[in-house]
């Protein structure tokens, strides 16, 4: 206050002001800049991001990190304990476990991301349509959501996999079918509050078509919620894939899926416990990292989601 007064007097007396205008006005900030600043303050979230980046690097550079072949059977080194040659030991076919887990990172990340994207695309579209148009369309979509959410998700995924057949590609479809309803509900509730806003009214007043309003005006404002849903959806999908593979309706041998490696280690719990233990640790760390990231993003995006 004092400073302002001083500045006012300076201006009145015609002297050069102590502060230029641009010094007082905060530098223009963007959505992404704000997000980064708020996100960095959360240490766990930053740790999560570092781990996620490391996982992506592992997935991409797997052949450079390990010179073993994830599929090559070597009966001379069956179920060997962790050693200098095989850091995490070998499995019952003498395959290097670390190598298989490294290649498994690719599967887990793809399984985490693709079905989540798929289910979110469907969920967002239905949530947008239901929330925007309301009425009968909305009612039908919401009842469908109720039905989908009534299923225990792993059971529904099991049934879909039974019908489609156990392949990696079908896991995408199964997890997308299981997951879209949650997104639809969140998007719908966002749309319901957004469509009452002045900017939507303004757009309507100047004659923008409904589809344009939904895609150009409402959807971008749902982005914060969608980013959080996406990040928190990935660990769920990774866990589901592992579980489906464990139950025999997911990835099939010899795919180096983390869930499948644990399954194969089940029989060697007495003689070679490392087969089952190490891939589980990777799942745990991956899921934790994405959860930390999601929680951090949610906190950082909180001002944007409270519209």
């Amino acid at each position: 206050m004092k400073e302002l007064n001083e500045k006012d007097t300076n201006m009145e007396t015609g002297k050069t002001p102590l502060l230029e205008e641009e010094d007082i006005v905060a530098p223009p900030s963007s959505f992404w800049k704000d997000l980064m600043t708020a996100y960095r303050r959360n240490h766990l979230a930053s740790l999560g991001a570092v781990i996620v980046v490391a996982l992506f690097l592992m997935a991409v550079f797997a052949p450079w990190i390990s010179h073993y072949d994830p599929y090559m059977i070597d009966l001379d080194v069956m179920t060997e304990a962790p050693s200098k040659l095989h850091w995490l030991g070998t499995d019952q076919f003498g395959r290097d476990l670390l190598t298989r887990i490294l290649y498994g990172t690719r599967i887990s990340l793809v399984i985490g991301i693709v079905p989540t994207l798929l289910s979110m695309t469907v969920g967002t579209a239905l949530g947008l349509i239901g929330g925007y148009y309301g009425g009968k369309v909305d009612m039908v979509i919401m009842r469908l959501c109720d039905i989908m959410l009534a299923f225990p998700s792993i059971l529904l995924a099991m049934v879909v996999m039974y019908t489609l057949g156990a392949t990696l590609l079908n896991i995408f479809i199964a997890l997308a079918i299981v997951g879209w309803a949650g997104t639809a509900r969140v998007v719908r509730s966002q749309v319901l509050s957004l469509k009452e806003k002045e900017f939507v009214e303004a757009a309507r007043a100047v004659g923008v078509r409904n589809r344009m309003i939904m895609v150009r005006h409402i959807l971008p404002n749902c982005l914060p919620a969608l980013i959080v849903l996406f990040t928190l959806g990935i660990p769920g999908a990774i866990l589901s894939e592992a579980t489906l593979s464990f139950l025999g309706v997911g990835a099939q041998p010899p795919t180096p899926s983390w869930g499948l490696i644990i399954t194969s280690g089940k029989e060697f719990l007495f003689s070679a416990p490392w087969i089952a233990i190490s891939p589980g640790l990777f799942i745990l760390v991956t899921v934790l990292a994405f959860n930390f990231m999601g929680d951090g993003l949610r906190d950082a995006l909180d001002p944007y989601m409270k519209q």
Partner: protein
Amino acid sequence: MKRFILKRLLVSIPVLIGITLIIFFLLNVVPGDPVALMMKEHISVDVVARVRAQMHLDDPAIVRYFRFLGNALRGDLGESYKLNRPVTSLILHAFPNTFVLAIWAALFAWIVGIPAGILSAVKKYSLPDNLFMGFSLLGVSMPVFWSALLFQWCFAVKLGWLPVAGFSGWQYVIMPAIVLGWSSAGTIARLTRSSLLEVMRNDYIRTARAKGLHELPVIFKHALKNALLPVVTVMAIQVAGLLAGAVITESVFGIPGVGRIAVNAIQARDMPLLQGAVLFETVLVILGNLVADILYAFLDPRIKVS
């Protein structure tokens, strides 16, 4: 109250019809002839045709659906392809095992979760608080089958304290109940903590403190009653969730429950059995949610008004 319950029951009916539709059509569009799957040896074409006619497999799907729905309402879920026994009797035979496991898991979750949540709220950001919240985070971040294997490796293989698998005595329940109840315990602890912290900000708590009450009576006599309201509702939902979620725990620990029936049915490609087990478990979950809603309305009169 009666009107609320009635309304809530009516809302469940379309959901129930919806799940039967989805389960039926998902499982009845499976390629492959069920008759060929049932018969191991090579059989003649007219035998196949006769069995198909007997099983009404040549009727249109919609007719078969209504027959399935009608039979299901009368408690008949068809006959298992592989075991040649009525699905209903197989499920009802297995259900007590699932039930026992789920109840013990729920008890574990409550006995551990509620005190942990209270302690975490009272000593916010203390070492126990961080520890409990860490454990709760672990519970939801580990694949259940992996934590089950870890328990088996640690307590059965290494320490030899508990049997690896099976279901013939109290000591067989301990590990599966803990594995199954872990994530529920975490949820309950987190919910109790946040709910208690919110209640502690209320004016009547300040009044209780102002009149000179010690912290313990403030928490146990004044705060907890209201703080546990949402927890009780979640508990009801969780029991249903645990019954259906026992699929994996049952398979790892070799417990002959409904979940293992479903998994075995998948491996044996026994469609009616899978269909029955999934329908049974889903209906359980819906009933659990119904009970939770009614319980909540019963405990908190404010709900009925809205």
